[in-house]
C-alpha cells in the first residue's frame, strides 16, 4: 500500500479542497432559500419549458417549492458537472502525466506489478472522491437544521452514494483511456469524448423520441431523480454502474500491465 498511502498524503491539498469548494453550494443555497422560497412557484412554471426539462432531465421534475426539491436540483446539477470534469481530467492523467514527465521509467524498474501500481493510484482518486458525498452530507444536515427545514436522510445518503458510484465508473472509463493512449492530450480527448457524449446522450434522451439513448449512458443509472422516486438506489441500476466501473477498471489494469511503454 506504499503507493496508495504516499500519494494519498501527497495529494491531500487538491483532494480535500476541491470537494470542499464544490460542497459549498449547499450552505450558499441554504442561505438564499428563505428569501427565494416564495418565488419558487413561479420559477417552477418556467422550468416546465421543454428545453429546461431536457437540460435538467429528471432533476427538472423536482418540486421546487420545497427545500428538498430545490436542494436536489441544484446539488444534482452542480455535482453532475463536477463529476464530468473530475472524471475526465483526473483519472485519464494518472498514467498519462507520468508518461509526459517520464517518471514511470524509474518507478517501474522496482519490483511492483504495474497493475497494482495503477490500482493503488486509482484508489487515491476513489478515496478523495468519498469527500464529495461526505462534505455534502455534513453541510446538508447542518444547513437544513439551521434553516428549520427537513431532508430525507436515506434519500440523501443514497443520492450521495450514487454520485460516488458515477465518479468511480466514469473515472474507471477515463483511466482506461489513459492506459490506452498514454499521452495526456490524446488520453484527455478520448476520456472527454467518452464522458461528454454520455452526458449529451442522457440529455438528448430526455427529449422523448431519443429516450433509448439514455440506456447506454452511466448517467442514466443511480441518478438523483430515480433515487428520489424510488426512495433509494434501485439494485439493478447499482449493478449496472458497479459493473461498468469494475469492468473498465479491470480492463485498464490489464491494458497497463500488458502494454508496451513505447514513448
Amino acid at each position: 500500500m506504499r503507493v496508495y498511502l504516499t500519494n494519498l498524503r501527497k495529494g491531500w491539498k487538491g483532494g480535500v479542497l476541491m470537494p470542499f469548494f464544490v460542497s459549498l453550494i449547499v450552505p450558499i443555497m441554504a442561505g438564499i432559500w428563505p428569501s427565494m422560497k416564495d418565488q419558487m412557484a413561479a420559477f417552477s412554471e418556467i422550468l416546465k419549458n421543454p428545453i429546461y426539462q431536457a437540460l435538467l432531465g429528471q432533476l427538472g421534475l423536482m418540486d421546487m417549492t420545497t427545500w428538498q426539491g430545490m436542494f436536489y436540483m441544484y446539488v444534482g446539477i452542480c455535482m453532475e458537472w463536477a463529476i464530468v470534469f473530475i472524471a475526465i481530467l483526473i483519472p485519464a492523467r494518472i498514467v498519462a502525466s507520468e508518461v509526459d514527465k517520464n517518471t514511470l521509467d524509474v518507478t517501474l524498474s522496482y519490483p511492483i506489478p504495474r497493475w497494482r501500481y495503477l490500482l493503488e493510484k486509482f484508489m487515491v482518486y476513489a478515496t478523495y472522491n468519498l469527500l464529495y458525498p461526505a462534505f455534502v452530507i455534513v453541510l446538508a444536515v447542518v444547513s437544513t437544521n439551521s434553516i428549520g427545514e427537513t431532508l430525507d436522510m436515506t434519500v440523501l445518503l443514497h443520492t450521495m452514494i450514487g454520485f460516488w458510484l458515477w465518479l468511480f465508473a466514469l473515472g474507471a472509463l477515463s483511466l482506461l483511456c489513459g492506459t490506452l493512449f498514454l499521452e495526456s492530450n490524446r488520453a484527455l480527448s478520448a476520456s472527454g469524448a467518452l464522458i461528454l457524449i454520455q452526458y449529451l446522450m442522457t440529455r438528448l434522451g430526455d427529449l422523448g423520441d431519443l429516450s433509448f439513448l439514455k440506456d447506454y449512458t452511466v448517467f442514466n443509472y443511480v441518478s438523483t431523480g430515480t433515487i428520489i422516486q424510488n426512495g433509494g438506489i434501485p439494485m439493478n441500476e447499482l449493478a449496472v454502474v458497479v459493473g461498468v466501473g469494475v469492468a473498465a477498471l479491470a480492463a485498464a489494469l490489464y491494458v497497463f500491465q500488458k502494454r508496451e511503454l513505447a514513448y
Binding site: N102, T103, D105, S109, Y110, P111, I112, E260, L261
Partner: protein, 308 residues
C-alpha cells in the same frame, strides 16, 4: 546462459511502428530500434554500451527492462526471462534512465523512503552514499539542478546494493568531481562482484571504468571487445615520410587494412590502419622511406571511425 553471464541478449529485434500498403500506397512508418542485437554481460564486469544518438542504446536497455515488446530474440537476466520473470529480476537490479525524471513534489528523502518500500535500502551503504553525493535531500526534486537530480537518481539506483546496475548515461549533468566519485562507486561495485551495464557518450568515462564495450550503430551491434584490446588492436595511426616518390593515396586506400590516407605535407602521409598492418608494410617496401612511426589511435578516434 552460462553461470558467468548476468545478461544475455540474443538476436534482439525491435521495430517501432507499422507499415501498411493499401491500394498500392504505403501508410505508416517502420523504424528500426534494434536489429538482431546479440551480446552478453559477464558477472562482475562493467560493460559499456556505445553508439551515436538514435543508434538503439536506449531501445535495447528498455527492452531488457521489459518496457518494450521485442519482435524477435530473447533476453535473460540472471538466467531468467526478462518478460516472464520481470518482478524477480527487478528485485535485483538498479536502473538510471537516460532522460532521468523523478517526482518533482517529492524531496530526495521522501523518494528514498518511497522506493525503500519496493526494494529495501541498505542503510549502511546509504550513509556512505550520502557522504559521497553532496546533494541536499531535504529539497524538493523540482527545486534542484539537473546535476543534483542525477545524483539523487544514482543514489536511488545504488542504495539497495543491487546485483546488476543498468545505467543510461549515468553521469550526464554531473560535474567532473561528482562524475569521478560515481566512477569510484562503480568500480567498488565491480570489486564486490556486482555487474554494471552502462551507456555513455563520455569516452574518458568508458576508458576509465569499462572492461568491455559494445558499439551499436543503426540498430545493429557492430563490435563487442575488451577495452584494452580495442586500443591496441583496432586502429593505428601510421605516419610515413618518403625520401622521393610518394604513393598514390587511392592506391593506399585500396589496401584492405587502410581506412584513410591523407597528405600531411608534400613528403609525409598520415594513414589510419585497422587491425593487420603487415599488408601495408609490405606495400611500403616498394618505396624509399625517410621515417615511419606507428602509434595506437586514441579511443576517441576508434569510436569516431565506428560512429561514422
Amino acid at each position: 546462459m552460462t553461470e558467468e553471464n548476468i545478461l544475455e541478449v540474443s538476436h534482439l529485434t525491435k521495430i517501432y511502428g507499422r507499415e501498411m500498403t493499401v491500394a498500392g500506397r504505403k501508410f505508416g512508418r517502420r523504424v528500426v530500434g534494434a536489429r538482431d542485437v546479440s551480446f552478453s554481460v559477464r558477472r562482475g564486469e562493467i560493460f559499456g554500451f556505445l553508439g551515436p544518438n538514435g543508434a538503439g542504446k536506449t531501445t535495447t536497455m528498455r527492452a531488457i527492462l521489459d518496457y518494450l515488446h521485442i519482435q524477435e530474440g530473447s533476453v535473460t537476466v540472471f538466467g531468467m526471462d526478462h518478460h516472464r520473470d520481470a518482478l524477480e529480476i527487478r528485485e535485483r537490479i538498479g536502473y538510471v534512465p537516460g532522460d532521468l525524471a523523478l517526482y518533482g513534489n517529492f524531496t530526495g528523502e521522501e523518494l528514498i523512503k518511497y522506493f525503500d518500500g519496493f526494494r529495501p535500502v541498505d542503510r549502511d551503504y546509504l550513509r556512505e552514499l550520502r557522504s559521497v553525493f553532496r546533494v541536499d535531500l531535504s529539497l524538493k526534486i523540482k527545486a534542484v539542478s539537473t546535476g543534483n537530480r542525477q545524483q539523487v537518481g544514482l543514489m536511488l539506483a545504488l542504495a539497495s546494493k543491487p546485483d546488476f546496475l543498468i545505467l543510461d548515461e549515468p553521469t550526464s549533468g554531473l560535474d567532473p568531481l561528482m562524475a569521478a566519485s560515481a566512477h569510484r562507486l562503480f568500480k567498488e561495485f565491480k570489486e564486490e562482484g556486482k555487474t554494471i551495464f552502462l551507456s555513455s557518450h563520455d569516452l574518458a568515462e568508458v576508458q576509465a571504468v569499462c572492461d568491455r564495450i559494445g558499439i551499436i550503430k543503426e540498430g545493429e551491434m557492430i563490435l563487442v571487445e575488451e577495452v584494452e584490446n580495442l586500443v591496441s588492436k583496432f586502429l593505428q595511426n601510421v605516419r610515413v615520410s618518403f625520401t622521393s616518390e610518394i604513393p598514390d593515396l587511392e592506391t593506399l586506400e585500396a589496401i584492405d587494412s587502410v581506412i584513410s590516407a591523407e597528405a600531411e605535407d608534400e613528403d609525409t602521409l598520415l594513414l589510419k590502419v585497422k587491425e593487420d598492418i603487415n599488408e601495408l608494410l609490405r606495400f611500403l617496401t616498394n618505396y624509399e622511406l625517410d621515417r615511419l612511426s606507428i602509434e595506437d589511435a586514441t579511443l576517441e578516434e576508434i569510436f569516431l571511425q565506428y560512429y561514422e
